[in-house]
Symmetry: C2
Amino acid sequence: MPVSTRSARFSAKRDAILDAACALFLEQGYAAASMDAVAARAGVSKATIYAHFTDKDDLFGAVIRMRCERNRTFAPVSPALDARATLTLIGRRLLDLLLQPDTLAMYRLVTAEAPRQPELARAFYESGPVTGKAEIARMLIELGHRGLLAVEDPWRMADLFTGMLRADLFMRTLLGLPQPESSSIEQTVAAAVETMLRAFAPTRTTAQSLAG
Amino acid sequence: MPVSTRSARFSAKRDAILDAACALFLEQGYAAASMDAVAARAGVSKATIYAHFTDKDDLFGAVIRMRCERNRTFAPVSPALDARATLTLIGRRLLDLLLQPDTLAMYRLVTAEAPRQPELARAFYESGPVTGKAEIARMLIELGHRGLLAVEDPWRMADLFTGMLRADLFMRTLLGLPQPESSSIEQTVAAAVETMLRAFAPTRTTAQSLAG
DNA sequence: GTCTATACAACGATAGAC
DNA sequence: GTCTATCGTTGTATAGAC
């Protein structure tokens, strides 16, 4: 049982295998990425892979969990910014992250395998969408406390905001289609931010009571 | 070249193959659906499949294109409804469609294979998201003409609306996760509609000028 | 066009030496 | 743990009879 030994968990070859498998899974999908290809890319023999992982599914699970743990959190937003600036900044960061090739490949991979690997789908959901929305919700609460936004249900609002960000531009990029200039990152963010500002503008009493 | 003959295009066995392949691709994904399984399910021999399609990719393409052509269009919305009722009705229809198992399976399949099959990804995009958004945009224009909504850029608005509809509930269902009651279809639609109504409420002058 | 039978390659996984 | 070599299976695709 190599997985339970200490050296196996921190082996250089094990890391090489994980990195190679990750790259191949993201590039080609689960089925198309063969164990031979992983071995070749990692610079090890196929038998070595099976010394560290019980089978292909096990290797796949380890790869996904590894990626989910690298849970990049957004940098804090300056408390001096107003609602529009804050939403724009956070929206730009999120959409920028969502459109990165690796993020999209991970999304394709996990959604495609979700029916066969429910636990991995859950891990992905918790580490990705949930974590991101939690940070946005926290920021919305902050804006609410400052009287800059009417925040009743921050989770619902975060959901609406991320939904608008993950609209046409995301879909086009996910499908690998050419992107018209009309659906740039900046325009998508601006439209989502403007809609949020209009729909959740603070009531006058709230703004005054907190400003006074 | 059986594909070019008239009988081949309207063959009963060909249809059986397409139906079987469609079901298996949607259930298991491209790689996991074997030609043997397709043949067994269609009740034909494998050789018959290769008499109608050049290879597996060709069969896959025919399946995707067939599904894209079945382009169900929304039933017309009664012109007597106000903005909230219209948005709620159309939002419910769209979300209901998006959450159907076949729709989700198609989404998983096409997004997963998009990097290897750009043309199919485009066909899917045009027949699905674009067509749906076009209908919503048309409905928004209608509401705008009646002075019930401030419609400047109907395509952008349709994008924002569908984005809010395709948020957390869609993601959870796509990943096969258990769904809390808090993210039901009705609540998701209501939140998206309310946000639209607040953000795009008609200006008083517009409403009055068209109402008077 | 449709079948049965089969060729041929690729894949996941293992045996055994070191 | 790591290698080389290989096993057994499965998969795509085809040959040849009807």
